[in-house]
């Protein structure tokens, strides 16, 4: 077990480093001088040279990278070009909007998907199974931003149940904040439930075929207990991996949701930064999301043996 944990950690660390390197060098591909970008076209050559020295841009690239890495490791992501704000606190601030949406959506999707997927597999090829798979396929074929717009049209504009715009931070008014994230959470949960239902069903179908399930049934173990104790842990392990991937995908695509529902989260920050060519912010958001994605998948890997102890054996 300790060896397994160590191996996983040793895989995650280089991935993070390489991700940081690719973000850094990607941003260096941008045409134009960052110092000139900060100061504007009217700057004197001396001022540009001074700022280049201050930012360390006159150093060789690998040195710049290591210095940058050192600062990032200490939580210093630099300052925004547009308003001079420190990027690190800005990221945390926006993440406080994004995180509840994504976590609630994944949680709701998993709670919805696992029972439906397992029941569909248990009643394989029945009408209920076909109906579940059809609904799941329809859900996962829904563009989330379109579903979001339609839910907004129906529940926001026609029925007036939720506010259409207006974000209030949780600290100020938790009740209104909950209202504001309700539709985005429902939208994302529905779309992602489609993927998870199919996965939960597929892995349950495979487990139900195994001899030990037949053996448990032959022993006279009640069917409910067979499903809960013998089938669920084994069938859940692959679904857990997918939940990790889904969480990352949601983070990657969150910009669209936050645009539909006018939420000031990480995704919106990234898109606004792209329009403003605010490279320190772009760099910060990309690295932040990639790091969370790697960490979530690491957490999933570490949780995996709880459901499927075989993986630690090799």
């Amino acid at each position: 077990m300790a060896g397994y944990v160590l191996r996983r950690l040793l895989v995650a660390l280089p991935t993070l480093l390489l991700a940081a390197a690719s973000v850094f060098f990607l941003m260096r591909l941008v045409p134009g001088d960052p110092a000139l970008l900060i100061l504007g076209d009217a700057a004197t050559p001396e001022a540009v040279a001074d700022l280049r020295a201050a930012l360390g841009l006159d150093r060789p690239l690998p040195v710049q990278f290591l210095l940058w890495l050192e600062r990032v490791a200490a939580g210093d992501f630099g300052r925004s070009i547009t308003n001079g704000e420190a990027v690190g606190p800005l990221l945390l601030d926006r993440f406080a909007v994004t995180a509840p949406v994504v976590l609630a959506a994944v949680g709701a999707a998993a709670l919805l998907a696992v029972p439906f997927g397992m029941l569909a597999a248990w009643k394989q090829d029945s009408l209920a199974d076909v109906a579940t798979v059809t609904v799941a396929t329809l859900l996962l074929s829904m563009p989330s931003f379109w579903l979001g717009l339609i839910l907004l049209l129906v529940f926001g504009l026609w029925l007036g149940w939720v506010p259409v715009v207006g974000w209030v931070p949780f600290a100020e008014d938790p009740w209104r904040a909950l209202h504001a994230i309700l539709l985005p959470v429902v939208t994302l949960a529905l779309v992602e439930a489609g993927v998870l239902i199919r996965m939960a069903r597929a892995s349950t179908v495979e487990v139900l075929r195994l001899d030990y399930v037949a053996h448990a049934r032959a022993k006279g173990v009640p069917e409910g207990r067979v499903l809960a104790r013998h089938v669920f842990p084994n069938a859940f392990a692959p679904t857990l991996t997918l939940i990790g991937l889904v969480l990352g995908n949601l983070l990657g695509g969150i910009a669209v949701m936050e645009t539909v529902f006018t939420l000031p989260g990480l995704g919106r920050l990234l898109v606004d930064a792209i329009f403003a060519r605010d490279y320190p912010v772009i760099q910060g958001v990309m690295l932040f999301i990639a790091a969370i994605y790697v960490l979530v998948n690491l957490a999933v890997d570490l949780l995996y043996p709880v459901f499927d102890p075989r993986v630690t054996a090799d």
Binding site: T137, P143, L153, F275
Partner: protein, 269 residues
């Protein structure tokens, strides 16, 4: 072979989208970019089947030319992703050793950026354009292709017929092309079908965010984005482009499922 509803429905949906795109190349009911402010936000009528948008442009014509953009961008992106992914996957899976380790590390790094995040980063550098999207999404999806190809190659290269080809004195390149590559066709075809749907979704999302094909060209994504303020007055503006994206995605998913069932006899998801 029994009738497969997935194959029929998926094929019909994708065929419909391709037919709409093909038709738009030769004919649209109106000029998709001509504005007429006296005819803004008209409901569907005999002259404007799907109504007009906030600039008085015909929604149906814009939907049709949007299909051309989405289909060509998606097809080009899938080709880029397949070529890159095949090259990386074949090299890694067949040569193994340090080549595989280096390529694998690169692949894992790209996979550390979820979904369209990598494409967003690349577009930030390249600036929004049609070919920028193709390159950005192509690079973003290539690692997925590479992983599938590598896995297939690794399982095939140890089989007796590959050994036999080498034992007969065939060159490595010949063995690879003649005996290994054909086995990747089935999984890659299944993947390419699903990829087509994912790319249309991602491309629409990027256009929705305003990071794609510049206006006034119509894309389903930018039509949806500009429809948002007029949702109540003209719901058709929001419904129509999204329905086209959903049709592509559903079509690609169903067709992908059907192809997997046909090409891969093992019982899968």
């Amino acid at each position: 072979m029994r009738l497969r509803p997935n194959l029929v429905i998926g094929g019909t949906l994708l065929g419909f989208v391709l037919a709409v795109a093909a038709a738009a190349l030769v004919w649209t009911p109106h000029d998709p970019v001509r504005t007429n402010l006296r005819r803004r936000l008209r409901p569907p009528s005999a002259e404007y089947w799907l109504g007009t948008d906030e600039f008085g442009r015909d929604v149906l014509s814009r939907l049709m030319t949007g299909a051309v953009t989405s289909v060509t961008v998606a097809a080009a992106t899938v080709v880029v992703a397949l070529l890159l992914g095949l090259a990386i996957g074949l090299a890694g899976g067949y040569l193994r050793g340090w080549v595989d380790r280096v390529l694998g590390a690169l692949n894992d790094t790209l996979l550390a950026f979820p979904g369209i995040l990598l494409a967003l980063g690349l577009l930030a550098v390249m600036g929004p354009s049609r070919w920028g999207i193709v390159l950005a999404l192509g690079l973003a999806y290539a690692p997925t292709v590479a992983r599938v190809v590598r896995g297939t190659v690794l399982s095939i290269r140890e089989r007796e017929f590959v050994e036999a080809s080498r034992a007969l004195g065939n060159s490595e390149a010949y063995t690879l092309l003649r005996h290994v590559v054909p086995h990747t066709v089935a999984p890659v075809t299944v993947l390419a079908t699903s990829l087509f749907g994912w790319v249309i979704l991602s491309e629409s999302a990027l256009n929705f965010l305003g990071l794609g094909v510049p206006p006034p060209a119509a894309t389903w994504g930018n039509m949806l984005a500009s429809a948002r303020p007029f949702m109540l007055e003209a719901p058709m503006l929001s419904i129509a482009p999204g329905a086209m994206i959903a049709a592509c995605l559903l079509g690609a998913n169903l067709l992908g499922d059907a192809l997997r069932d046909i090409l891969d006899p093992r019982d899968g998801a």
